[in-house]
Symmetry: C2
Subunit: 420 residues, 2 copies
């Protein structure tokens, strides 16, 4: 490209499996993220199969539009892998055999006690004039090509090969294309609806193109993705990002539970650890999902004592000492039962905190009085307890997630000594 500002970048994913109902290109999301950080946007993504005519046409068209092209996949040893050959033909360049690449591939096999299959020999061919990008996690080397001020990069398809190759060999070379520095952050929140958040931050939507704010809403969690760009320095980008972050946090306050990628279960785990507290959970409608989330955090055995999934009324009585009369009087899905469950699991586990969930996850089991989505979440601690009544929307799994989210958030707020 004549000028870095004229850059038009595209990503092409090659592989017939990507044209079936079963597989999706996910590499391009990661590459987009990294290219965005250099100030590069993506204008097209193309997905094409292992067909010679389609692939060569696709390459020609992409190169007629873009001056920066990353092609993913089709560098393997099989007959279907034709990306290298197709680019060589379109660019009218030869494929040259490189003894040193063959040796590396052979070594890879030998190390594992195998003999290199003959088919892998084709991976030692390199497009004339290309720079070879070493693959430390597979046999297919990548290639970096320049053609009439266009940059073309060929990367292997498996993410566990593509990512390290990109970071190690491509990222340093891309620095010369950097037009700006970027900083980004994700503010994760729970407890406010999307429209409430929109109304709180609507005036904060940046008016300058160097700042960006995007809201992504999921049931039970709303994420605010922000980024700042600077022509000058990383420092300036960070400074501007932090300014924007600060104003958003002032508006959303303690509804934001993380600004560095952590999930709510990570945050609760950290708070328990800092406060030298532990917890036990009693679940009905979430059926073990809350315990599952808490124990997804490595090291959670330090603060997670035990969980019970008391699905039946009998189990609530047996495992948590919920009096059968109480269930009879108020129903298993009630404020009263939730509270007694939380107190019960805490006492049984001798834990600092007890958390309980009882509700109707659907799709059946709802009534007019107690509809699907009605969920009581309770928290018990040494000196007291608190119960929240919720009406969640969505399908069974969405209701399970929102319920667990509420339970974790109540624990977080208690540990931070802020209003539940």
């Amino acid at each position: 490209m004549k000028n870095k500002k004229d850059l038009r970048a595209e990503i092409m994913a090659v592989g017939s499996e990507l044209l079936t109902p079963h597989f999706q290109d996910t590499n391009s999301l990661y590459l987009t993220q990294r290219l965005n950080e250099l100030g590069m946007g993506i204008s097209f993504k193309t997905i094409v199969g292992d067909d010679w005519d389609d692939l060569t046409l696709c390459i020609k068209e992409a190169l007629s539009r873009a001056n920066f092209l990353i092609a993913i996949g089709g560098l393997g040893p099989t007959r279907d892998d034709i990306t290298r050959e197709a680019f060589a033909q379109v660019l009218h360049r030869k494929l040259l055999f490189k003894e040193e690449i063959l040796q590396k591939i052979e070594e890879r096999f030998n190390c594992r006690g195998f003999k290199m299959p003959a088919v892998n020999k084709k991976q030692a061919y390199v497009i004339e004039g290309a720079e070879v990008l070493e693959n430390r996690n597979g046999t297919a080397p990548g290639l970096w090509l320049e053609e009439r001020s266009k940059i073309i990069i060929l990367l292997p398809g498996p993410p566990q090969e593509l990512k390290p190759m990109f970071e190690r060999s491509v990222w340093p070379l891309l620095q010369k294309l950097r037009t700006e520095y970027t900083a980004h952050s994700v503010l994760k929140s729970t407890g406010l609806t999307e429209s409430k958040i929109e109304s709180l931050i609507s005036k904060l939507y940046p008016k300058v193109p160097s700042l960006k704010l995007t809201t992504l809403a999921y049931p039970g969690q709303i994420e605010i993705h922000i980024s700042a760009r600077s022509k000058k320095s990383q420092d300036e980008a960070e400074k501007n990002l932090n300014k924007l972050k600060k104003t958003i946090l002032q508006k959303l306050q303690d509804y934001v539970f993380s600004t560095s990628g952590e999930e709510l279960e990570d945050v609760v785990g950290k708070l328990l650890r800092i406060n030298k507290k532990n917890l036990a959970v009693a679940e009905s409608c979430t059926g073990g999902f809350l315990a599952h989330r808490l124990t997804n955090v490595p090291g959670s055995s330090d603060y997670f004592i035990q969980g019970v999934v008391a699905y039946s009324n009998k189990a609530k009585t047996n495992l948590l000492d919920v009096p059968p009369d109480l269930i009879k009087k108020h129903g298993a899905v009630s404020l009263e039962v939730a509270q007694v469950m939380a107190i019960g699991v805490r006492r049984k586990a001798h834990s600092n905190l007890g958390v309980a969930i009882t509700g109707i996850a659907g799709p059946t089991g709802g009534t007019q009085e107690k509809p699907v989505g009605l969920v009581y979440v309770a928290l018990a601690w040494e000196e007291g307890s608190e119960v929240s009544k919720n009406l969640f929307l969505g399908k069974r799994e969405a209701i399970k997630f929102q319920s667990s989210q509420k339970a974790l958030d109540m624990a977080r707020r208690h540990l931070l000594k802020i209003k539940i």
Copy 2:
């Protein structure tokens, strides 16, 4: 197209959000599945932003290659939504205002007690000569266009609008393009490695193009997707599929747990129901994930009595009567403790079956003797019990999944009275 056999189909997804690191086109997987069923393959997929020049160029190029094009997204009411306008320009057709569409959009808003915002008026414009595809789940109507024997279909981006519109309005119209009938099935298996399955079925890979077999491997589950095509009839396709299915099942036998899309927890739930049995589970390293999977099945409260997550040694003793001496002697991750956990949870819950899992999910906690991935899974029933020792590979969540899979499979095999 002149002949249905000359059909070249493409899918284009429109939207700048699809060129960010956050969003991915998933509609095309669903559309591909449905088109495949008619005998139509996809030769290209393109993703383009809401930029006028890019979009019109993309449309022109797609129409130069394909004679069947589905474009997704960009039919909304905002200024960014320009798909309708871009197609009109490329095809040199007018946009015509349709009073009856406006009325329907207005009604949609009125029903919910809102007044239609002025911006939505643009959704009442239709490309000249197009057939309107009614949207019962949103405001954006779809369009079906024919241009010089090319078929162009514009569909809204939100999957909850696209799918019903496709099924209701597009699918019937597509029947005239049907070149063949297809039948497909997914055989889900657990308990055999991918290479073992490959060696068992390698001779069954179909040699005729009308039959297809694809293996998808995940840790703990290997799926065999098969499909059969027939030029004659659906019956013939089904017949050929069933023949292939039968030969695969003969090879893989009871390692296949479902042939109609069901997950292992669904299968176990059905078997419990049929056999009028119920179960209780005790989990250590899976931390509630097994209970979560079992209770993801609607109606599981009929047979799932209770679960306990006994993460700490104390919890194993308190909740499951595991003698502290036994833990001291053999360690919490041992065949002996797994067995006593399964027997304990069954007795405590008064259930027919008791399932227990204890192991090391990592990333920490492993030793040379008991490495990360070592998991004991036990099943107890009235007359006995059985324990399996497993060494699973992968990260924490993969180990949790494989452990739960083994537990469910042991229950399945017991209920089917086949060797565990």
